[in-house]
Amino acid sequence: MSNPPIKDAVGPRQQVWKVAVTAVCRLIACMVLMVGSGLFPPVLSGQETHTGPSSPLPLLVKARRGDTPTGIARRYLNDASRGWTILEYNGIEALSGGEAVMVPVAPFRPGGLNPDGYQTVPVLAYSDIGASLQQTQQVFRSAFNRQMRWLKTEGFTAITPTQLVDFMEFSGQLPHRSVLITADTESQTFFDLGVPILKALGLTATLFVATGKVGVEGAMTWDQIKQLNEDGFTIACRGQSGRALTDRINGQTFKAYFESVESELRLARQAIETHLAAPCLFLAYPHGSTDELVSAMAAKFGFSGAFIRSSGDNPFFANRFGIHRIAIDSRMDPELLGRMLTTLIVTDLKP
């Protein structure tokens, strides 16, 4: 028998070199394996930057059979609520499955600008909901139900004031039929009669409460308001007492008047922030009226937007401290409501 061949003698430097090369090769093999198995994010068609003036390029994806816009938005944008952007971008009503679909990753019509005009967002202002017509400003429950159902049937999307302000700051985009539903009340009847209708239809709303009236007889408690906030309703204020901020009492000095307004706004904000542990970002001017001083004080206090009660359009460039609201009453049947809700100001914006 012969002895096995002796391996070639290898120096320590060569040994280190060999080990390093082997390690690098193994790492490269691992990386290749990971890319192949999808551990690294895929290079989706369109996920790259470009030099043009527009926002990031939309993703190009293939819709699977049974896919919905919501599902695709959840999968690719991590946000199911943006399903409508897929339909609007592709100019379709629904997905049929198997087709190429563009998924916009950023607002493609900020400010609601399109070739035929610009978007305006109607804001509905309710005073209260009642079981019977006790007060002229109360909307009867059945009328409220009819109006909300009509909004749902007509394809309106109820938005939050935060979304509206994003839109007005030209950073957000809204569904082309958007509406903001607001109510200037803290009454128990709204909680008992109005809220169930909104919840049943999946609509959100904004409540402007006079914080000083919360918890008194016939009004909601802070627990109920907190519950509404947790259910997705926006809670904002209309002062502490709900009295008109533009009225100066006879004989009151300008400074005393200013201090009373300041106190109304400060205490209302503080109450909401204390009870809900969240900032109070919106204000409805009590009785729907404001003037230069009150609007300026609202801006200085840090409100993101403030609402008046007066018909008018709300395009993205409207005054954020004078957002128009349409006062709604029981006499307003869906047909009349439909005539009042303008969502597009027609003007030629083609290049």
């Binding site: 390093a20 390690a23 193994r26 790492l27 691992c30 990971m34 999808g38 551990l39 690294f40 994010p41 895929p42 989706l44 068609s45 369109g46 470009h50 043009g52 003036p53 527009s54 939309p58 190009l60 994806v61 293939k62 999968r75 690719y76 100019g91 087709e99 190429a100 607002p107 493609f108 900020p110 400010g111 600008l113 399109n114 070739p115 035929d116 030209f170 300008f254 200013f258 230069e292 001083l293 609007s295 300026a296 004080m297 801006a299 200085k300 018909s311 460039f317 005054n319 954020r320 004078g322 005539r339 009042m340 597009l344 100001i345 027609v346 003007t347 030629d348 914006l349 083609k350 290049p351």
Partner: protein
């Protein structure tokens, strides 16, 4: 080298990827991979063209960029991207400059629309956004730059005309009221009127008519109409007010683009009522504008017949509408060209008969058609002669008639038709 080191590295990277949420990207990759069929690519191209025709240039550009990524032949997409990018940049600049010009000419609505077009085409174009925000987006606060020696009271005196309002300057800027301000301090202040105005308490209107008038003055059209309709309908003043409200409502609806509602509102106003003609003109202008937009869209998508019909309709309604006239001429020319390409010379000639002689391309095409038809007439003429020689008089007449249709000046064809008809009559008269 430890053999388990790569394994540890692999697991660590897998853990990081898992935490960052990229593990679910396998299915994403499978469904959004690069396997795109040519039919899908064509669909995206088609959509890009449709979007461009509708004026959605930015979205069209994005579609071409996608085509560029997935198409095998990228040359066309590259050309389109370059063309659209240039078009976009030029349009943004042009509209921005027009907006500035309109502002100088004190035409704020037109200026605003030009800035909005620039912004729509390029939402990141800050100069246009700044113009819109500055001129069309009111904000309740103003700024003031303090000068040497300023203190809250002096600022209040300068800005509000009342030094007792120094507390406002202090409150809005979180400053002590008594302090002197450092020169160059930027202050925010409410936009208060300098001269305080006494509040005018409006008297409550006593009659429904007066109340309706007051509502109308407040721009509450629905409320005014509701009140006016409750007033005495026999009162001529009430009737006048109702008609005026309907016209105002129609104007508002026209501005919102709601044509049907506007038509209904105008229809309730009797002819000859002051102001009705003006509102009708506004309505017609909007109708024409929409028809022109449709006609232009048809033209951009190659549907020249529909484009011609639309532009012609507008031109008939408004003979001064030069855009409608130009579009009609261009659409007529393109349609005629299409007929020529499909050898339908007679249809092409008929179309171009109405065209303006000043349109050079149409005039040149007309001459070409005339030449081609003259040649065609000669062919039909010869075919007729052949049939005549073969004693097939009916076929001969048909061919000569076709020759005449192609060239109405073909005298020989006309004579031969008459001769052949006389011959047929003689033959039929034979016993």
């Amino acid at each position: 080298m430890k053999p388990w080191l790569p394994l540890i590295a692999f697991m660590a990277i897998a853990f990081v990827c898992g935490c960052s949420g990229t593990m679910d990207s396998v299915s994403t990759f499978l469904h959004a991979g690069s396997r795109w069929s040519s039919a899908e690519t064509d669909d995206i191209r088609l959509r890009a063209r449709e979007l461009e025709a509708r004026g959605e240039i930015t979205m069209a550009l994005d579609h071409w960029r996608q085509v560029h990524r997935i198409a095998i032949d990228r040359a066309a997409a590259t050309r389109e991207i370059e063309r659209l990018e240039n078009k976009l940049v030029e349009a943004v600049q042009a509209h921005y400059q027009k907006g500035l010009e309109r502002l100088r000419k004190e035409a704020p609505d037109s200026a605003r629309d030009h800035f909005l077009v620039a912004l729509r085409l390029d939402p990141a174009f800050q100069p246009a956004l700044k113009q819109v925000k500055t001129h069309f987006s009111p904000f309740p606060l103003a700024v003031y730059l303090s000068v040497p020696g300023d203190h809250p009271a002096s600022v209040a005196k300068t800005v509000f005309g009342d030094e007792d309002k120094a507390f406002l300057v202090a409150w809005f800027n979180d400053l002590p009221e008594a302090n002197t301000l450092t020169p160059g301090t930027l202050l925010i202040l409410p936009k208060l009127k300098k001269t305080p105005q006494k509040k005018v308490r409006l008297k409550k209107p006593r009659t429904r008519l007066a109340a309706a008038g007051a509502r109308m003055a407040e721009n509450d059209i629905e409320g005014a109409l509701s009140l006016a309709e409750q007033a005495n309908p026999a009162d001529p003043d009430v009737q006048v007010l109702i008609h005026t409200i309907h016209l105002k409502r129609a104007t508002a609806l026209i501005e919102k683009g709601l044509l049907d509602g506007a038509r209904q509102a105008i229809a309730t106003v009797p002819d000859g009522f002051a102001g009705k003609d003006v509102v009708l003109e506004k309505l017609q202008a909007l109708v024409n504008k929409r028809k022109m937009a449709d006609a232009q869209a048809h033209f951009n998508q190659g549907r020249y017949r529909q484009s011609l019909d639309g532009a012609d309709a507008v031109f008939r309604n408004a003979p001064d509408h030069t855009d409608a006239r130009d579009l009609a001429v261009e659409a007529r020319y393109r349609l005629a060209l299409d007929h020529v390409n499909h050898k339908r010379f007679l249809e092409a000639r008929e179309l171009l008969e109405k065209t303006d002689e000043g349109h050079e391309a149409s005039a040149a095409l007309k001459a070409t058609i005339r030449t081609r038809l003259a040649k065609l007439a000669q062919i039909h003429y010869r075919n007729g002669v052949k049939h005549f020689i073969n004693e097939d008089l009916e076929s001969a007449i048909t061919e000569w008639e076709m020759a005449l249709a192609c060239n109405p000046d073909h005298e020989k064809a006309r004579e031969n038709i008459e001769n052949a008809r006389r011959l047929i009559q003689k033959i039929e008269a034979l016993p």
